[in-house]
């Protein structure tokens, strides 16, 4: 028997929108932790700007998912009152920030995927998703440019930065692989014309990533086996800690307002 939480949904469209929302929220939350800890002020500001864009995007998606679910559901219910097992974000989004190179490697893989995902969503059969994607892709192209520039800077930098970023990129490669392995939530969305066949996004992603790695004097990456499960709600141990921190206030004071 499967235990269902209050806001779990059987509607494949709502589930897909939640999957998109969860990626944006969890990565946005991760990046927010750099606030006040960036190596220099400009980079601190850059990562928190990106976090802000992602959380803004999460709100758009959660607001839409809440409308689809109905029954008085709100964006806050979906962000703060679901448990780890209900979240469908990619595992890469919840991985720890690590050092600067780790964060940028994670971001580079995600931003590049996100750009091509939004490009596909701009052709979705669903008007609301098309509109959200058309707006978000403008922001995401800035994120992707930023993270790619850092990969080049670190790869083509000092011996130490080169070695460290190569290691970070290799570490996250199996997580990036999950983007392109269809899970039921992707397959349902693709069948309904809502979203792309995620495996079809791989060639464009690979080409862009490899062109940046070449500029960065870094070796090509091997995606290896896919570390997957996030899109089916099976997360790494890190996920619970993120939720504990992010949700505790809302759960302790469920009716609190600013």
């Amino acid at each position: 028997m499967t235990f269902r939480m209050k806001w779990d949904t059987c509607d494949p469209k709502a589930a897909y929108v939640l999957h998109l929302a969860d990626d944006a929220l969890i990565l946005g939350q991760r990046l927010s932790a750099w606030c006040g800890h960036g190596p220099i002020l400009e980079q601190d500001i850059a990562l928190t700007n990106i976090a802000l864009d992602l959380i803004g995007l999460a709100r758009q998606y959660y607001g839409y998912a809440a409308e689809l679910i109905g029954e008085g559901c709100t964006e806050n219910d979906l962000a703060y009152f679901r448990d780890s097992r209900s979240f469908m974000n990619h595992l890469i989004c919840e991985q720890p920030n690590g050092h600067w190179g780790d964060t940028l490697a994670r971001q580079f893989y995600f931003d590049t995927f996100h750009f091509f995902q939004l490009e596909a969503l701009a052709e979705s059969s669903d008007e609301r998703l098309r509109h959200i994607a058309a707006k978000a892709i403008k922001e995401t192209s800035y994120h992707a440019q930023y993270s790619a520039e850092w990969i080049i800077r670190l790869g083509d930098g000092t011996e130490e930065s080169h070695a460290k970023i190569a290691q970070s990129l290799a570490h996250y490669a199996p997580f990036a692989h999950e983007f392109f392995v269809p899970a039921p939530v992707d397959q349902d969305a693709h069948n309904m014309g809502l979203g792309p066949d995620v495996s079809s996004l791989l060639p464009a992603w690979k080409e862009k990533v490899e062109s940046i790695l070449t500029l960065a004097t870094l070796p090509a990456i091997d995606l290896g086996f896919a570390k997957k499960g996030g899109k089916a709600g099976v997360h790494s141990e890190h996920h619970g800690y993120i939720l504990a921190e992010m949700q505790s206030l809302a759960r302790a004071y469920p009716d609190a307002t600013w």
């Binding site: 700007n49 707006k135 930023y146």
Partner: protein, 160 residues
């Protein structure tokens, strides 16, 4: 009944909280104004998806229109997405005079993932010898530049 011109006049007095020399009309945020029997419906485009100033802007709109003593309904217009192409020429001049370099070129031409950087003119000494310091500045809509002639750092309102 209040005229549309009167509403536009009042909206032109609502300043952006982060760039206080620009009104929401200069920024091209006002997409539609409709007078209904009992209330006014405004279509307001958000600049960036996560722009934290939007709530303040909505509050300021309500405050500015409160003299009309009519109910105001504000709808967020996502589509077509807001672009700096909608910023008025007057707005761009005010921006430069305020010390923020206005967006260069048209966002409509910018459809690539990794394009070359534009030439941005220093708003203080007007030199074109400037360099990008960071793609992300004090707000999501700005990048940080530095002038090679006068050495001053300055914000550039990104072409978006």
């Amino acid at each position: 009944m209040v005229t549309l011109e009167r509403i536009q006049e009042l909206l032109a007095l609502v300043m952006d909280p982060e760039v206080p020399v620009l009104s929401i009309v200069d920024l091209g945020l006002v997409r539609s104004v409709e007078r209904k029997e009992t209330h006014i419906v405004l279509g307001i485009a958000p600049t960036y998806t996560g722009c934290p100033a939007m709530d303040v802007i909505h509050d300021r709109i309500r405050e500015a229109l409160s003299v009309l003593e009519t109910d105001i309904k504000i709808e967020s217009v996502l589509h077509p997405p807001w672009t700096t192409d909608w910023m008025s020429e007057a707005g761009k001049k005010k921006l430069e005079a305020y010390g923020i370099a206005p967006p260069v070129g048209k966002a409509a031409d910018k459809r690539s993932l990794w394009g070359p950087s534009p030439t941005v003119r220093c708003p203080r000494c007007k030199s074109e010898d400037t360099a990008l310091v960071s793609l992300f500045g004090s707000t999501a809509c700005k990048s940080l530049y530095q002038c090679g002639s006068c050495n001053e750092p300055f914000d550039y309102f990104k072409c978006f």
